[in-house]
């Protein structure tokens, strides 16, 4: 604090500008409309359907991601093999992919005219315009967040612990379930919360791949966009709910991060 040169002032100004810029739009969502009106808007059928659909589809996507992603992340964290770096990069790509590109990609892969379109149709699986298609889009964009978190968490587990379990006669599967997962628990939880947040906010890929229909494919972000021109206060109210949910998820990430620093975190 002694050195209040121009550089220190510049740093301070930059931080203030950053905070203002990032906080203002979020404050504005709550400041624009009185809380009573916001809550009232949430009673409308379109808003309720959208929130309920968002809850169901994000939970389904998270379930798929956890069931398949956890063992996959464990393998990536505990084994070395050729081409591993390339695989890790490839599965992280959706993290930075523009949502519109994700939507086109999903159509080109799983759409009626896509690479797997004929096979899916033969199997009687419909994704486009269906709730299942929303889950596919959410899973695609959110999975890398979980995979990254879980892989890092498994990699941080002391290999001596896993060896000890094996020495004591535990099978590989038992070591994974009873030692690795509990030890990596908080890191896995943090990855899960981030993935959930991303899934809740998904917009472009859902609209392009699954469409927008109330109660079937119109998730909360799509309802916000539909309400933008016809019912601004309902759009604000839904935005407020998403902001609150995202904040809760972020907070849980922070808390989980702290607990994992505190110890083995079982």
């Amino acid at each position: 604090m002694r050195n209040r040169g121009p550089f220190a002032i510049a740093l301070f100004v930059a931080l203030c500008a950053t905070i203002l810029f990032l906080i203002l739009p979020i404050v504005a969502i709550f400041a624009d409309t009185p809380p009573g009106e916001l809550i009232e808007s949430l009673g409308e059928a379109r808003a309720r359907d959208a929130l309920w659909l968002s809850l169901r589809t994000t939970l389904a996507a998270i379930a798929v991601i956890v069931v398949i992603g956890t063992p996959a992340a464990y393998l990536l964290a505990t084994r070395e093999f050729r081409g591993k770096a390339a695989i890790v990069t490839a599965i992280e790509l959706p993290l930075v992919l523009p949502p519109a590109a994700a939507g086109i990609g999903l159509l080109a892969a799983f759409g009626p005219q896509g690479i797997l379109g004929g096979a899916l149709e033969g199997a009687g699986i419909e994704l486009v315009l269906q709730t299942a298609g929303v889950v596919v889009a959410l899973t695609f964009v959110a999975a890398p967040f979980y995979l990254r978190g879980a892989q890092a968490a498994f990699a941080a587990v002391d290999p001596a612990l896993l060896d000890a379990a094996r020495t004591l006669g535990a099978s590989e599967a038992r070591t994974f379930a009873r030692v690795a997962i509990p030890c990596a628990g908080s890191g896995i939880g943090a990855g899960l919360a981030l993935a959930w947040g991303r899934a809740l906010g998904e917009f472009g890929a859902t609209l392009m791949f699954a469409g927008s229909f109330q109660g079937i494919t119109q998730t909360a972000p799509l309802a916000i966009f539909a309400g933008f021109s016809t019912d601004f206060s309902a759009a604000l109210a839904l935005s407020a709910v998403l902001v609150a949910a995202s904040a809760a998820l972020l907070l849980s990430v922070k808390l989980l991060g702290r607990s994992s620093l505190g110890g083995v975190g079982a």
């Binding site: 519109a100 759409g111 315009l129 917009f203 927008s212 966009f225 933008f228």
Partner: protein, 251 residues
């Protein structure tokens, strides 16, 4: 896609605004246009052939109107109906609108589809239509309301997606995600044979009229007026006709 266009409007306005500071010449600044999705081919051709320096953003007319209500200030607002420009005019956000083109609502199907008329709908087919409040959606509702109740109900039951603009409907159609959709005949013309238009019976056809207005507080009102004049009688009119638009109805 649509929201990124919205961001583009904001950015282009920002950039246009910045350019203005250094260059006080009034008529020389570029024209910022917010126009209905269905106008994209015609306006793009007009701007290109007439050599107009324009930043255009295309989206659902209702979303563009909502942006203007939220303070976005393009020079020109062009909508696929007359009610949105009229409403903005009453709110004091745009100058007196004029009707500059007509269009025809059609049932669009992928080339080679087995659907030949409205009567073929209401079975297993999936439909994409415009959302309520989007002009193409409101016109579609007019058509459906004039149909016999059973067919109308069957058609609404087979709607799989309510899209925010015609671009969304055409996209769903050309990807085979839906079997049919209600769009304008100009949207079908723009696909170069990818889609086929099934004309609606005359008694079902709604009157599709496009309204355009200069936005209050436009940076470039002279350029905007020249652009509109060209649409009524000039290069713009030709581009509209080439794209399959009709002369303004009732004019």
């Amino acid at each position: 896609m649509i929201w990124s266009r919205g961001l583009l409007v904001a950015l282009s306005l920002l950039i246009a605004g910045c350019g203005e500071d250094g260059e006080p010449g009034a008529g020389s600044s570029e024209l910022v246009i917010s126009a209905a999705s269905s106008l994209e081919p015609a306006f793009t051709a007009y701007v290109e052939t007439a050599g107009i320096d324009a930043k255009q953003s295309f989206a659902g007319s209702d979303d563009l109107a909502a942006q203007i209500r939220q303070g976005v200030r393009p020079d020109i607002y062009a909508a696929a109906n007359t009610s949105l420009p009229d409403a903005l005019h009453e709110e004091g956000l745009v100058f007196e609108p004029v009707v500059f083109a007509g269009n025809e609502l059609v049932l669009a199907v992928p080339a080679g589809s087995g659907i030949d008329s409205l009567d073929d709908l209401g079975g297993e087919e999936d439909l994409a239509i415009g959302d309520d409040g989007v002009p193409v959606g409101d016109y579609t509702r007019e058509v459906v309301d004039r149909l016999p109740a059973r067919l109308a109900e069957a058609i609404l039951d087979s709607v799989g997606s309510r899209e925010p603009d015609v671009a969304g409907i055409v996209g769903k159609l050309s990807q085979g995600a839906v079997d049919a959709g209600f769009v304008y005949v100009t949207d079908v013309v723009a696909t170069d044979g990818g889609l086929e238009a099934i004309e609606l019976p005359r008694k079902l056809q709604p009157e599709v009229a496009y309204g355009i207005a200069i936005v209050e507080g436009a940076e470039n009102p002279e350029g905007a007026q020249a652009f509109i004049d060209g649409l009524l009688d000039g290069g713009g009119e030709q581009a509209l006709l080439d794209a399959g638009f009709l002369p303004p109805p009732g004019g």
